[in-house]
Amino acid sequence: MACKSTGEKVFTVVNITLLVLLCVCFLLPMFIVLMQSFLSQDEISRRGTFILIPEVFDAAAYRMILSKGSSIFNAYGVTIMRVVAGTATQLFFTCTMAYALSKNDLPGRRLVIALINVAIVFPVPLVPLFLLVKGVGLYDNFWSMILPFAINSVYIFIMKAFYQQLPPGLEEAAMIDGCNQFQLFRRIVLPLSLPSIATVGMMYAVWHWNEWFYSSLFIVDNAKLPLQNIMRGIILNASGSDLALPLANMPPAETVKCAVIIVSVVPILCIYPFVQKYFAKGFLVGSVKE
């Protein structure tokens, strides 16, 4: 619009400036990490203090990580499978339960919600969980990284709230046309809820991508370890031990750590912008309360 008041112009300028500053804040540390992943031992010894941009870009750390060949690519494969299968499983559990709970006059609803609340506040202690996982035969099994975490209670409430936003007339109309509950869910509710499914799904996916603690305890076979565990191992072992002879020309520990970060973060950053357009479609259909 041509006629913008001065106040609005000032606001816009301030806004943009603030946002740019924020961008710098967010980018700078990542930039430092990226730069540091190319630092060689020589240069550190020579230049000493804070180095922002290396004179020589030494990719030794990346070579070291990626040259592991099979183990890294294998771990990538495991993680991707875990993200896909895990997210699908979690969405399945979460959406079905949330849908049921979104019906206000479902008998027993409040009891179930209370149960979920209790589960939120009392985290599961490790030893009993481990014994349970063993007991049901999931130990050293790919699914041990997924099933015990099938639902994050917070997301149930997000989905539930979303479903409650849908116009009730929609469902009634479908029921009159002779749909049963399943068809209703599949043909009408699901397509409408894609944006929030995408949001919740993304959050689950990222959790799966980053999680390492439980996998380190439930998985024994190295071939089944996801990426973060291998990465964590690389970092811990990059410092070397006093008992193991160091490899010749190994890059400094800090450099290796930074390279590991880059390798494990970059893939997500590449994918996310594509998924983002689902959110832009509108997280809450009909969120405006009439």
Binding site: D42, I44, S45, R46, S71, N237, S241, L243, L245
Partner: protein
């Protein structure tokens, strides 16, 4: 999906009935059952060989690449070698990096077969999770007994004389004060013999900026390796009679912690002086091993009060950039008003322990003894099959040389790891030269420092838990306030107030409990 959940739910409810029945998944493939090796001390009759499962959290599995696991072919080769030479089917569980103890606890809680693992015996014995090994050592453990000195065994023995495990460490000195000899030369100084002389050296380094811009006269740490505190282990002995150790107060005949010694206040004052004058690296309280080595390799560290390996293993890289650089320390032992400054690390109560559920403890000791009996055996378990990554350079002198890069085997079977075996062999690798030399000749040169007063006494954690409810608080207070005094956040003259606060937190309980345990064991 739903069916699986139902099955899981039912299985979970049956969990209560299947407590100890779950045998663990064995990670490595079992060898052919009937392959009893020729000449091996096999069981009577043609039975399957005894299976021994070892959770190797001894610290031997390390090094870049170990996170991906060893090459199964190499593991199988060593496994076979073990089977042929001992007759036992030895399996190794490799701990997850960073979560070793958690995993171990879970395996033990779950009832998995774990025959041999490393830990603090005093913690496990009271809960009857491990067994004494005296009879087995008498039977087949002669080489193990010979390898470790008396002091080390004493720390693994309870007050009734039961030995609960094979030691992992022996009293040693790991905190000399290393000084850049080339800098001393530059400044025309001698290697200091006393704290006062060291003070002078530090002052000179600082005032003249001997290492150029960013000179660090003294790099010290306080949360060190192997539970050593750099500052305390390097310097406290100069100011107090007993150094960094519990001590018996003659005035009331009670055991007290190091921080209550007369002279501790002087130690704090001196450290504070060095801190405020800028001799000490300001980030001393949050240094990690990597950071220390990185700083050392930058060539700006004039002297270091850290665990020795941080220096010995960095020398090679340091000299690549600064060929004239070298570190050494006062071999007669730095001294102060109260005597030798350095305090030794006592023999620890951590060692190789045998589970109470193990069906053949004598086999475990037999197997261990095999490794201890010949340095060549240790080399195989530590460095892989002979000829693959290593070979003898001089077999009689036990000097080996490496062949290429070792990848695919990370000492998973090295159960005899420890000073005796580490010094029984020596390699020709220049990167480790100084380290090896220190280990062999200087690490146990105990006359250089002070030995902790109660070395060999074992303080039962169960007793501490029951009798000293304020133990965590006291730990925190000691850590926190020591650093505050050194940094000057808290003035030194509040030291007496600090002592009073310790008593408020339950120090008297601590003193009573420790005193009682001490006198029970000292005969």
């Amino acid at each position: 999906m739903k069916r699986r959940i139902l099955a899981a739910a039912i299985a979970a409810m049956m969990l209560a009935g299947s407590l100890t029945g779950c045998g663990g998944d064995s990670p490595a493939p079992a060898p052919d059952a009937g392959s009893a090796a020729p000449g091996a001390p096999a069981e009577e009759g043609a039975q399957a060989p005894v299976k021994i499962v070892v959770y190797n959290n001894s610290g031997s599995i390390a090094g870049a690449g170990s996170e991906a696991g060893a090459d199964p072919a190499i593991m199988e080769q060593i496994h076979q070698w073990m089977l042929e030479n001992t007759g036992y089917d030895v399996q190794v569980i490799v701990p997850p990096a960073g979560n070793e103890t958690e995993k171990l606890n879970l395996l033990l809680a779950g009832g998995d077969q774990v025959d041999l693992f490393w830990g603090d015996w005093s913690e496990y014995a009271s809960k009857k999770v491990i067994v004494p090994i005296n009879s087995y050592l008498d039977g087949k453990g002669q080489d193990i007994v010979k390898a470790w000195p008396e002091e080390a065994w004493k720390a693994m023995t309870d007050k009734e004389g039961n030995i609960y495990g094979v030691p992992r460490s022996t009293p040693n000195l790991g905190n000399p004060t290393w000084i850049r000899t080339d800098w001393l030369e530059k400044e025309n100084l001698e290697m200091p013999k006393t704290i006062d002389e060291l003070d002078n050296v530090l002052r000179t380094f600082k005032e003249n900026g001997t290492g150029g811009e960013g000179t660090i006269p003294l790099l010290a740490d306080i949360a060190g390796k192997h539970s050593s505190k750099g500052l305390h282990n390097s310097f406290l002995g100069a100011f107090t009679e007993y150094g960094y150790s519990n001590w018996l107060d003659p005035t009331d005949n009670k055991i007290k912690p190091a921080e209550l010694q007369p002279g501790f206040k002087d130690f704090l004052a001196k450290m504070n002086e060095w801190y405020t004058k800028g001799y000490m690296y300001p980030e001393f309280a949050s240094l990690s091993k990597d950071k220390i080595r990185e700083i050392v390799k930058q060539g700006k560290v004039g002297s270091a009060a850290v665990w020795y390996s941080n220096i010995t293993l960095s020398l090679y890289d340091l000299q690549k950039t600064f060929p004239e650089a070298n570190y050494d320390y006062q071999h007669d032992g730095l001294e102060g008003p109260s005597g030798k400054a350095e305090t030794a690390m006592p023999a620890s109560t951590t060692g190789a322990l045998i589970s109470a559920k193990c069906e053949h403890p004598e086999a475990v000791i037999d197997m261990l003894n095999f490794i201890y009996s010949d340095p060549a055996n240790h080399m195989v378990t530590w460095y892989g099959p002979e000829g693959m990554f290593w070979k003898w350079k001089d077999k009689d002198a036990h000097i080996y040389e490496t062949i290429g890069e070792k990848t695919g085997y990370y000492a998973e079977y090295a159960f005899a790891i420890g000073l005796p075996m580490e010094t029984a062999v020596s390699g020709d690798n220049p990167q480790q030269a100084r380290h090896q030399e220190y280990l062999t000749n200087e690490h146990t040169d105990l006359k250089r420092g002070k030995i902790p007063f109660d070395s060999g006494i074992v303080y039962d954690p169960a007793v501490i838990k029951a009798r000293v409810p304020g133990a965590s608080d006291i730990s925190r207070m000691l850590e926190e306030e020591t650093i505050n005094f050194i940094m000057g956040t808290r003035p030194i003259d509040e030291y007496d107030q600090f002592v009073q606060e310790l008593y408020d937190a339950g120090m008297q309980d601590w003193i009573d409990a420790y005193t009682e345990m001490y006198f029970e064991q000292v005969k």
